[in-house]
């Protein structure tokens, strides 16, 4: 009897197609991901059940950390330069092109405008180590209101987002809210983290 020969098939599968797909997706996600910008302070936001997502563009972010310092930032590098120009005219300061370039890379900052020049001269890596005083927002010297006003001149569609730490004391929040209301910003967002709904 002749032996029945079962042809031995190779167990290896052609992985090329799968690899192609995998890397295509990988590339897509890598390009689509926007990494969290480097923030000067860590802010632990309170949680809420609200499910509205914050848009990525046209955002003016006012951050208040637990030591009640106020930070400010807007999106878009070009807009940041425009904003700085406007602020420089207002406070009669001049910024070099290099400083403007440095400023356009800042996502958030918390220094009074008088100290901004010096702050920009610090190496980006060392900036987080230096202790910043925050933007003055009290009634005596309200630079924040100028930042808010000029940011709205630069970008008309800007939305205001307030990001506060859980333990920020209320008077500071009130100050910021009053500043916004004085500048006719009556609608703003509070940034919160997701909370598992109780019901």
């Amino acid at each position: 009897m002749p032996k029945v020969k079962v042809p031995r098939k190779s167990t290896s599968v052609d992985m090329t197609a799968m690899t192609d797909v995998a890397f295509l997706l990988l590339t897509f996600f890598m390009l689509a991901t926007k990494f969290k910008p480097d923030e000067p302070v860590i802010v632990d936001t309170p949680s809420s059940i609200s499910e509205i997502k914050l848009p990525d563009v046209d955002i003016m972010m006012i951050t208040i950390d637990k030591e009640n310092r106020v930070f400010f930032g807007i999106d878009g590098q070009q807009k940041r330069v425009e904003l700085l120009d406007k602020m420089a005219t207002k406070y009669q300061l001049t910024f070099t092109d290099k400083e403007k370039q440095e400023f356009s890379l800042l996502s958030t900052f918390g220094v009074p405008i008088a100290q901004l020049k010096q702050f920009l001269s610090i190496e980006p890596a060392d900036r987080n180590k230096t202790k910043v005083p925050g933007i003055p927002s009290d009634s005596l010297n309200n630079e924040l209101s100028d930042w808010v006003w000029n940011a709205r001149l630069v970008n008309n569609n800007i939305r205001v987002a307030v990001k506060g730490d859980q333990s920020t004391s209320y008077p500071t929040v009130k100050q910021v809210m009053n500043t916004l209301q004085e500048k006719n910003v009556n609608r703003f967002n509070f940034i919160t983290t997701m909370e598992r709904s109780a019901e």
Binding site: A22, F29, T33, S48, S50, Q166, Y170, Q181, I191
Partner: protein, 214 residues
């Protein structure tokens, strides 16, 4: 997962030495593994990155309202919440007849016996339409009504004319978290009309005495 050579390597007659033919195929499995691992990572980080937000509308400061625009409400329709230190809330009503504040009650943010229960019961007393929210929600889940209709219904229920009005007055000792928590309660309790208002000296006193007496 090594390659298994199908044929080849057979017996050759004669002593001729042949250089062994190496397979040109490369095992892609680890590469694919890595690729998918990274995809998973980027997928998860992308969706997590977007922060949640809570919208709030503040009253216009500059504009003086005309008499017609002002809404007149019954005093007993409103509840005043004073956010005080140590995450406590003091609330009180205004008596309709005398116009004086009633005895303030101290409570906290506990979801079972805190301020939420008070708000829910008080709102239910005043707003009979609240019971229909679960019905609409069920209809939405079953696909009978769409999101816009649901929102419209919800809006009209929340804006019911006799519904509870909440006046939030945070004291200087309160934290930002308290403010967010109380705004959250407004969402949970389906309260449509609320406002964050500056505290008066009289109420500050009230809050201090209420917290101390406990």
């Amino acid at each position: 997962m090594a390659e298994i050579e199908g044929g080849g390597g057979g017996k050759h007659k004669g002593g001729k030495k042949k250089g062994k033919k190496l397979s040109t195929r490369v095992d892609f499995t680890p590469m694919v593994d890595l690729g998918f691992l990274l995809i998973t990572f980027f997928m998860l980080t992308t969706s997590m990155n977007k922060p949640q937000t809570m919208e709030i509308n503040m009253p216009d400061k500059k504009k003086d309202l005309t008499e017609e625009e002002k809404t007149i409400v019954k005093a007993s329709q409103a509840i005043t919440l004073l956010l005080t230190k140590d995450d406590k809330v003091v609330y009180y009503f205004i008596n309709d007849k005398t116009g004086d504040p009633e005895t303030p009650v101290i409570t906290d943010f506990d979801s079972r016996k805190g301020i939420r229960q008070t708000l829910l019961t008080e709102n239910k007393k005043r707003n009979p339409l609240l019971d229909s929210i679960p019905i609409y929600k069920a209809q939405l889940n079953e696909g009978k009504i769409d999101q816009t209709t649901y929102k419209a219904h919800l809006g009209s229920i929340k804006g019911y004319k006799d519904a509870l009005i909440v006046v939030i007055k945070p004291t200087d000792e309160s934290r930002y978290k308290n403010l967010i928590d109380i705004l959250d309660e407004m969402l949970i309790c389906n309260i449509g009309r609320y406002a964050v208002v500056d505290i008066t000296d009289k109420e500050k006193e009230m809050a201090t005495t209420a917290t101390q007496s406990k």
